[in-house]
Symmetry: D3
Subunit: 60 residues, 6 copies
């Protein structure tokens, strides 16, 4: 542990995921007292027409 999932809009680049994963893992090790190897992060991209906030799809 921990298992961290990040559901987000598609469009972020590999470099953004790389930097974010590096930073989050450092925080997990420092704050949650786990190890690097036991920190898993999964990014799941979604189109804006597959996400709704306030009762409306986010592509509107």
């Amino acid at each position: 542990m921990p298992m961290i999932t990040v559901d987000l809009f598609e469009g972020r680049t590999r470099e953004q995921r790389e930097a974010f994963a590096k930073g989050v893992t450092e925080l997990a090790v420092r704050i949650l007292k786990t190890t690097e190897g036991h920190t898993w992060i999964l990014f799941r991209d979604h189109g804006k027409s597959h996400w709704a906030m306030g009762g409306k799809l986010c592509d509107q």
Copy 2:
């Protein structure tokens, strides 16, 4: 809150997601006593060969 995720077969249209999200948000506000803006809904499409029921993939 709430965060609502809907895993379903691919093939539903944008209009179906739009109508479903609108209806679910109204229910959340009325019954769960939350606000529109705090109701997030995420649709995740899956092929029938990625879903199993009764021990068989659903494309059979």
Copy 3:
């Protein structure tokens, strides 16, 4: 399908979950063209100190 998960703050009653599940299932059948029996809904309660928005835990 569909599999619907609802992550929300603890404190909602059984009656609220019952009414919400009934309404969401009706919407799923009517709009997503599935059957009652294939609509599964899972409610997961969470304390406000386990949810963060805007960088702050929601119990603040």
Copy 4:
């Protein structure tokens, strides 16, 4: 119940998912004392650049 989700790297074949689903369902019926029909399994494929372990994306 149970609802079982399997997040994994893309690249597995339909035959692998089929055999895995069959085996997991048998285990669920035998060990968890559920029925075949109530065992749902969902496979979600992910590219290696969307998964991080040890602070690095898995395509490295």
Copy 5:
């Protein structure tokens, strides 16, 4: 990978989870061609009043 989550009714014992995890891991190694150490399984228990099928809560 893989990350496997099992949402199920509360009431299963530690021994059941132990046997199920062992069996699923063997299947993952043999069929999905992963390693034991990279197979993570997470069990999440839920009361029957938190799960709905067919529009009704499962405690009915």
Copy 6:
């Protein structure tokens, strides 16, 4: 977006969750180019007998 879920072992304190949420939100804003208010983080605690790695429950 993003919706970030953190499945982890129980035992972390409110202060740890608070610091982690603050740090992750800063990373999301800076790297993923989202806003503070649209960053949701959900922590889900699990006992070690509900998590398996390498085919064994983590309380062993």
